[in-house]
Symmetry: C2
């Protein structure tokens, strides 16, 4: 009853991202990253603990070396992932989520829950939509 009953009149934006505010309230900052092909899977893999470069590469089946590096660099740049270097021979480099990274991963897991819950609903809608030309 009190579910979605937040009267949606004319001017009560649930979240102010669009309109004249082109800076998107900072959402794009993180959404652009999440929209990249391998970012989410990389974060997901790292929620289990630190991983070495090669381990990640194996876990993310199909990723190119180029994208593995790019993805990790960008996550590091955002402060979501921390890079550790062991100056051994051969070198050993591991990556792990920062505190910020973990906090994002938590949010992401909530989105996963939502996705799981509504996946069939969405796919049904798509199927119906497609069935009409």
């Amino acid at each position: 009853m009190s579910e979605t009953n937040m009267d949606v009149g004319e001017h009560a934006a649930l979240f102010p991202c669009g309109s004249s505010d082109h800076e998107d309230c900072g959402l794009r900052l993180i959404l652009d990253r999440l929209g990249e092909k391998w970012t989410v899977m990389t974060l997901a893999e790292l929620t289990s603990g630190p991983r070495r470069y090669r381990e990640l590469e194996r876990a993310l089946e199909g990723i190119s070396q180029r994208m593995m590096t790019l993805t990790l660099r960008r996550l590091e740049r955002d402060g979501l992932v921390v890079r550790h270097v062991e100056a051994t021979v051969p070198p050993s480099v591991s990556y792990e989520l920062s505190e910020l990274g973990h906090s994002l991963a938590t949010r992401l897991s909530e989105m996963v829950t939502w996705s799981r819950k509504n996946k069939s609903l969405i796919e049904a809608s798509q199927a119906e939509f497609d069935a009409r030309g």
Copy 2:
């Protein structure tokens, strides 16, 4: 069953999207949509209530007609937005969030909160990272 021999104090994955599960637990289904350039702003605008095509176009300053239509079609296809047609002359078409759309918008607003809260942290990290390249 598998090689659990390397438990370096690992925890279970917070969300199971990567590794062998290529279907991404359905997250990509929605993340791909949110990653598109105008989707979030469109949803944001619609949280305030129904909007006509032209109203949306004006609100989302800079969007092309092509992308406005594509974005709305895809949202409609996903069942996140409902399209209403008034067969007047000239025609009047309005769009509004479905219940599913509202539920997603709610999640999104939580992400916005997170983004707002950590925006400066991320940007600081980026600045520091760049200062060393």
